[in-house]
C-alpha cells in the first residue's frame, strides 16, 4: 500500500495504491474452482486524525485499486492516514506526512 500526495492550487491531491485481488466470486482459477469473493468494502481517509472521507466500495472496483482524492488546502507536515477493511475482516493502513 502506498500514498503519494502532491500539492495542487488550494488542495492536496492524494493518490493511494493498494494491493488487493478484489475477487468478484465469479472467477474460476486455473483448475476450474470458483475463487471466493474477496474485496475491500470500507475505505477511510483521515487528515490530521480527522476523518475527511468515508467510502464504501464493491467487487466492481478493479484489482490492485488506485484512488485519487482531493483534500482542502493542506500544507507541509499534514498527516494523512488511509485505511481499508475487506469482507474477510482483513485490514491495512498507511500513514504519511505531506512533504
Amino acid at each position: 500500500m502506498k500514498i503519494r500526495a502532491s500539492l495542487g492550487s488550494g488542495f492536496t491531491e492524494v493518490r493511494v495504491l493498494m494491493t488487493h485481488p478484489m475477487e468478484t466470486g465469479l472467477r474460476k482459477d486455473a483448475d476450474g474452482k470458483i475463487v471466493p469473493q474477496h474485496f475491500i468494502q470500507n475505505l477511510t481517509v483521515k487528515l490530521n486524525g480527522k476523518t475527511v472521507l468515508d467510502a464504501q466500495i464493491s467487487q466492481a472496483v478493479s484489482r490492485n485499486p488506485v484512488f485519487s482524492f482531493r483534500l482542502n488546502g493542506g500544507a507541509k507536515g499534514d498527516k494523512i492516514e488511509v485505511s481499508w477493511l475487506d469482507n474477510h475482516g482483513e485490514s491495512a493502513a498507511i500513514e504519511a506526512a505531506v512533504a
Binding site: 502506498k2 493518490r15 494491493t19 488506485v66
Partner: protein, 263 residues
C-alpha cells in the same frame, strides 16, 4: 480476472469512425497510466533484489548488470550488452539468471521453474525487472554495439525479425511491418523503424492493467512466438536476446521512461 466473461461490443449503429476509435483508445490508455498500481510492484522488486536466496544464501545486490557490481542507475538502459565473464550478449533477464547461478548458487532448473508469473504471484524476473528498469528512468537507451558479439547479436535479431516460419508463415514483420496497421484495436508499431521503436522500448517492462500482471520483454518474445504458432523459445536463449537487442538498438537515444502501463 475478468468480472464477467467478456461480451464483444455488439451495438446497433457503428458510429465511431476509425480516427475516433484511435483517439479514444489513446485517451483510455492515458487515463489508465495515470491510475496504475505499477509502483507497488517496484517496491516488491526492491525487496527481492536484497533478499538472500539459494544454496549460498546471498542476495543479488552484488550482481554486475554491466555498470559494475550492484550498480543499478542506468544499467537497464544500457542492456543488452556483451559480458566478458559469460562471454555472451545478455539482456536484463538472462543476466539476472546468470547472477542467480553464479552468486546464489541456484541451478538453472530451479531458477527458471516459473519465469512468467500470475496476478496473484508475479515471478522473480518480473518483480526484479520492473524494479531495475525503474532505476533507469531518464537515462538514454544505449545498448552495447561495439563488441563483435554485440554486432552479431544485432544482425541475428534483424534477420529473425523478417524470418517467416511456423504453421501460419509469420515473421515479426507480418504484424509489425507496415504503418497504420492494427490487430483488432491494437495498433502495431513498425519496430524496425527508430521513430516507432523508441516509445515502445522506452516503456518495457510494463504493468498490464487487464491482467494485473508485470510483463517483461522475455515474456513478450515468448508470447509472440506462441501466437506465431511456433514451438516455445527457451527463456533467455540467444534468439530471444538477439531480438530484444535488435529492437533496443533500433530505439537508441530515446530516454527510458518506463516501467510503462499497457492495456
Amino acid at each position: 480476472m475478468r468480472f464477467i466473461a467478456f461480451a464483444a461490443a455488439l451495438f446497433a449503429s457503428c458510429a465511431a469512425s476509425a480516427q475516433d476509435v484511435g483517439k479514444e483508445i489513446q485517451r483510455y490508455r492515458q487515463m489508465v497510466a495515470e491510475g496504475s498500481p505499477a509502483e507497488l510492484f517496484e517496491l516488491q522488486g526492491e525487496e527481492l533484489w536484497k533478499k538472500a536466496q539459494g544454496p549460498k544464501n546471498v542476495s543479488l545486490e552484488r550482481c554486475d548488470l554491466g555498470e559494475g557490481p550492484g550498480v543499478l542507475k542506468g544499467a537497464y538502459a544500457h542492456l543488452p550488452r556483451y559480458f566478458k565473464d559469460a562471454d555472451r550478449v545478455m539482456d536484463l533477464e538472462s543476466r539476472l539468471l546468470y547472477c542467480m547461478s553464479t552468486l546464489q548458487g541456484r541451478s538453472r532448473e530451479e531458477a527458471t521453474a516459473r519465469v512468467f508469473g500470475s496476478a496473484d504471484r508475479p515471478s522473480e524476473f518480473e518483480l526484479l525487472s520492473i524494479y531495475i528498469a525503474g532505476q533507469s528512468r531518464g537515462v538514454k537507451i544505449e545498448p552495447g554495439l561495439s563488441q563483435p558479439k554485440e554486432k552479431a547479436s544485432y544482425e541475428l535479431g534483424r534477420a529473425l525479425y523478417f524470418h517467416r516460419v511456423g504453421a501460419w508463415d509469420f515473421s515479426c514483420a507480418s504484424c509489425h511491418g507496415d504503418e497504420g496497421k492494427r490487430i483488432r484495436l491494437q495498433e502495431l508499431p513498425v519496430l524496425y523503424k527508430p521513430q516507432y521503436a523508441r516509445p515502445v522500448m522506452a516503456s518495457w517492462p510494463a504493468y498490464r492493467v487487464s491482467t494485473s500482471q508485470v510483463i517483461t520483454l522475455q515474456w513478450r518474445m515468448n508470447d509472440c512466438y506462441r501466437q506465431m504458432r511456433m514451438p516455445e523459445p527457451t527463456f533467455a536463449s540467444e534468439t530471444t536476446v538477439a531480438l530484444i537487442h535488435f529492437l533496443t538498438v533500433t530505439a537508441r537515444g530515446e530516454p527510458y521512461h518506463g516501467p510503462g502501463n499497457k492495456r
